[in-house]
Symmetry: C2
Subunit: 251 residues, 2 copies
């Protein structure tokens, strides 16, 4: 936490990092404290960031992330880039099922949700676009972890596996088996491992070189449907997106 930031660049980044989903707006003092810089420095730098558009300042004097930053960030290939090609397929999934549709990529030992379609009537899920989550619990997480590099898998398997419900897999050996099954079946199922009432079915999305770069999932009420009937649907969407990402001999 209190890492003393050295370079100016790192301090600029620290000021952006100060904003979290839990605290999307900050007063100057809060910002200074979180970024680990003195108040005058924070004031000066914040003014510069506001001038550029990386931050915005509300009528209440509090700082928020600016639209300009969102604009350039939207160029992230694994962010909106991925989202753009995936969207039509996600739309289709949603339209057919009217359930939650999720798209995620792996970032380090966690996953980041890149897109999420939630109908008003689907099971509530506690995820957010741009939000992070552990890999070992969700459907998308298992799909991503099963195809992650060996060292990533090891790191996750050797660290304590947090339990969210009684059904969350916390035994490394059991998790190994599940991951093997995911690779074998081509899809992953998470049954009540995040919240007891939700079940998700996920499939891996492959980019160039057949490496897995993302995963899609459907999240339904545990009693609503059989995973076996959802799997083909999700897999088809995943394959469709993969095809768009790695155009082979088309066109």
């Amino acid at each position: 936490m209190g890492e003393a930031a050295r370079s100016v660049t790192s301090k600029v980044l620290a000021m952006l990092e100060a904003f979290t989903p839990a605290t999307p707006d900050l007063s100057l003092s809060e910002l200074a404290r979180r970024a680990g810089v003195s108040l005058p420095t924070a004031h000066r730098r914040a003014a510069e960031l506001v001038a550029w558009g990386a931050l915005e300042r509300g009528a209440d004097g509090r700082y928020r992330i600016g639209l300009r930053l969102w604009e350039v960030a939207s160029l992230a290939p694994r962010g909106l880039g991925l989202r753009d090609v995936a969207m039509p397929f996600l739309e289709d999934l949603y339209e057919v099922t009217h359930e939650n549709v999720q798209l995620a990529v792996r970032e380090g030992l966690e996953l980041v949700f890149v897109e999420r379609i939630a109908g008003r009537h689907a099971v509530p899920v506690l995820t957010r676009v741009g939000g992070r989550f552990v890999l070992h619990a969700t459907g998308v997480g298992l799909a991503l972890l099963a195809h992650a590099p060996a060292d990533v898998q090891e790191q996750v398997l050797t660290a304590p596996l947090q339990a969210y419900t009684t059904k969350t897999i916390t035994d490394p050996d059991r998790l190994r088996e599940v991951l093997a099954a995911v690779r074998r079946n081509g899809y992953a199922v998470s049954d009540g491992q995040v919240t007891l009432d939700a079940l998700s079915v996920a499939a891996p999305i492959r980019g160039r070189g057949d490496q897995v770069v993302a995963a899609v999932s459907l999240v339904v009420r545990t009693d609503t449907a059989e995973p076996i009937t959802l799997a083909p649907l999700v897999q088809a969407a995943a394959r469709g997106i993969s095809r768009m990402l790695a155009p082979r001999f088309s066109g």
Copy 2:
């Protein structure tokens, strides 16, 4: 263009700004040149940005915007924040019409698309989430401009109005009339003013204090439907979103 950036902060921002929709990946030299910094500086700073996750470096050595930056940027209230509350309404619009649905906000004298749902079968539109566009041509643009502060309207009206088609409004006086009509009707129509085959109907979204903060639109083929039938649909969605943004006495 060649503004000599002074502060370190501005140079960091310049390096992010170097990435554009047209050039989402850059080599080190390109990055250095566009950001207006020397090569060693660019190298050093880029390494730092990569370490933090603001940039990513591909196997080809080229730099791209990193997912980490996208994560914090997703906290922008006018970006994903707005998107999140609007999404269900946009979904509904899409599901009913199966046409393009767009959500945009004003940023300076232009607009930025915050969300876009495009079915595979809808009219192709040349917009992109995170992309910019002028205010005087599109449906969302007219809706936003009509409710923008007086000085913004003046600046747009006094600058040359670029024509995209023969139907684009380029006469300031004519534009004034159109804007007045938009305010009177509560919705805006852009008929073939961007591309001749597309027509869009937009409605303003209001936040707290009844100020217009965004706009939604439907984009259809010029011959497909009558604006008059689409307007209520779009207005209903806009009102729904407005209601979520400025909770009055509900709950």
